[in-house]
């Protein structure tokens, strides 16, 4: 049988809901089998329906346990769930121990849940290179929600943001300095923040610190309006309609700065000045914002995943974020952007592969590589030469 025929056969089984076929499809994709592309062609029209949720955060934050609970809660709401958990590959042997299943005991035999562990396979980021395509197959299979859990290190945050509709960043209390370090990377990509293991000391402080950083981060932006317009916990934020002098979150941020007590008077003054300017911007925009100007102020939630505490609220917020994407036109915009990116990526990969293959076949590649290695030729000139002679032929 030709790869196309094997793909068609597996696709038929996939459409009939055969979970073994689904598992085998993922294996093809992971291995870059020749059937995989043919299958993905067939699968593509069926994709684009699932809510893809990324779960990221530092190792030890309890991501898998939270994912297990999120899956249970999604099931309780009548949705089917697929879970993709990525673990690192040993750089020495290429092997891996994929242990996420241990933490997902609640839903293991539920026919509405499907879980797959992937090894990162040498990819430096926190996702396996095949993750996006694996998600496509799961989406086409008909799962309502797909939870993608990253390794939690490297470039996973950025990659997960590109893959997921909603990114959930998990932290734990007492990260201390680490929170400073993650703020730059993680703060910008999180749509929902979860402080897990919130029964430990320092949970409130961690939540406050994230809230504060989020508030500061959202200060100077256009469309600081909160979605949806409702007062935050503690009454710090005000609805856009109130048209207050301070933007929502600003006074809350001030109070949090105060409460944490770790900031000098100069910090406070600086923060206050910044906010005042932001408040002017905000006031100008109040009431005039069109849906696209409304931005999402990520909520910060507390959970104790091992006991299931706070998990319902997390799912509520994930749902809300999906509504936000849909009602502000972002879901559609995202589809366009994803399509463009995907095309760009594929064209790039294929053009590069075809060009290099031809250069190799002609014996040019080896020659040029040697010259570059021996410093007789610079790599830029060599690349131009390959493109001139072998590209698009």
């Amino acid at each position: 049988m030709k790869p196309e025929d094997r793909a068609a056969e597996l696709f038929a089984r996939l459409r009939s809901g055969d979970r073994r076929a689904l598992a085998r499809a993922i294996t093809w994709i992971e291995n870059g089998a020749e059937e995989a592309t043919a299958l993905l062609r067939l699968v593509y029209p069926l994709t684009g329906r699932a809510h893809v949720v990324g779960i990221t955060g530092p190792p030890g934050a309890g991501k898998s346990t939270l994912v297990d609970r999120l899956a249970s809660e999604q099931r309780a709401r009548g949705r089917t769930v697929a879970i993709v958990a990525v673990d690192p590959t040993s750089p020495f042997s290429g092997g891996a121990i994929l242990g996420d299943r241990i933490r997902m005991q609640r839903t293991l035999t539920d026919p509405g849940v499907f879980m797959r562990s992937l090894a990162a396979r040498g990819h430096l980021g926190g996702l396996s290179p095949a993750t996006g395509e694996v998600v496509s197959v799961l989406d086409a299979f008909g799962f309502d929600v797909i939870l993608v859990e990253t390794v939690g290190t490297g470039q996973s945050e950025v990659e997960i943001m590109a893959l997921a509709h909603t990114t959930c960043v998990v932290v734990v209390p007492g990260l201390g300095d680490e929170i400073q370090a993650i703020k730059a990377g993680i703060l910008e990509i999180g749509d929902v923040f979860v402080c897990n293991k919130a029964d430990r000391d320092g949970a409130d402080r961690t939540v406050n610190e994230i809230e504060m950083m989020l508030d500061l981060g959202h200060m100077g932006q256009p469309g600081i309006n909160r979605w949806p317009a409702e007062p935050a916990e503690g009454g710090g934020a005000q609805s856009p309609a109130a048209g207050a002098a301070l933007p929502p979150g600003a006074d809350a941020a001030l109070r949090r700065l105060d409460r944490t007590g770790h900031h000098s008077a100069a910090d406070l003054a600086r923060a206050a000045g910044y906010m005042t300017r932001a408040a002017v911007h905000a006031a100008e925009r109040h009431g005039t914002a069109n849906p696209g100007d409304i931005s999402w102020r990520p909520p910060v939630l507390k959970t104790v995943a091992k006991d299931g505490q706070g998990v319902e609220a997390v799912v509520d917020r994930l749902d809300e974020h999906l509504t936000f994407l849909r009602e502000t036109g972002r879901w559609e915009a995202r589809r366009e952007k994803d399509a463009a990116l995907r095309l760009q990526e594929l064209v790039g990969q294929r053009a590069a592969r075809a060009t290099l293959d031809r250069a190799r076949a002609a014996g040019d590649l080896e020659l040029l590589v040697r010259q570059v290695a021996e410093r007789r030729l610079d790599p830029y000139t060599a690349a131009d030469e390959i493109l001139r002679n072998h590209w698009g032929r």
């Binding site: 979970r19 598992a23 089998a33 121990i97 242990g99 293991l108």
Partner: protein
């Protein structure tokens, strides 16, 4: 470890039933990893249904069951039965641990390919696995 087709061999290391002894399972899991296999470890106290579901969803080439509590005679055949009912016939099934010699034939009969007793050489387990994966 890559099979002939250029893919990584995936192994499910499983602990069935109420058997709490996990030293051997963990050592074997590490040995597989260090030999380049991808290992999915189930954790302790698994029901045969959960192990079968994991084997299917993870699309593993090998299921390696570690048993030191004497329930292998009941639970391993149950697991194999569940796999067969769901149409799985291309998975290599291995057993290891404290399994008395005279209980080995029944396990082989049930569909276990090989039983590795105490003191088995890790290299031998890996070599056997590499040579006998079914796909």
């Amino acid at each position: 470890m890559e099979a002939a087709s250029g893919r990584r061999i995936r192994v499910l290391v499983a602990k069935l039933g109420l058997d709490a002894h996990d030293r051997g399972a963990k050592v074997v899991a590490r040995a597989y990893r260090d030999a380049g296999f991808e290992v999915i470890y189930t954790g302790l106290y698994q029901r045969p249904e959960a192990v079968a579901a994991a084997a299917i969803q993870e699309d593993v080439d090998v299921v390696a069951v570690s048993s030191l509590a004497g329930a292998h005679g009941v639970l391993i055949p149950q697991l194999i039965q569940l796999l067969r009912e769901q149409g799985v016939d291309d998975v290599l099934i291995l057993a290891g641990g404290i399994i008395p010699e005279d209980e080995v034939p029944a396990l082989l009969e049930a569909g276990v390919s090989r039983v590795f007793g105490p003191g088995s050489d890790l290299e031998e387990i890996i070599e056997y696995t590499r040579e006998n994966v079914k796909r």
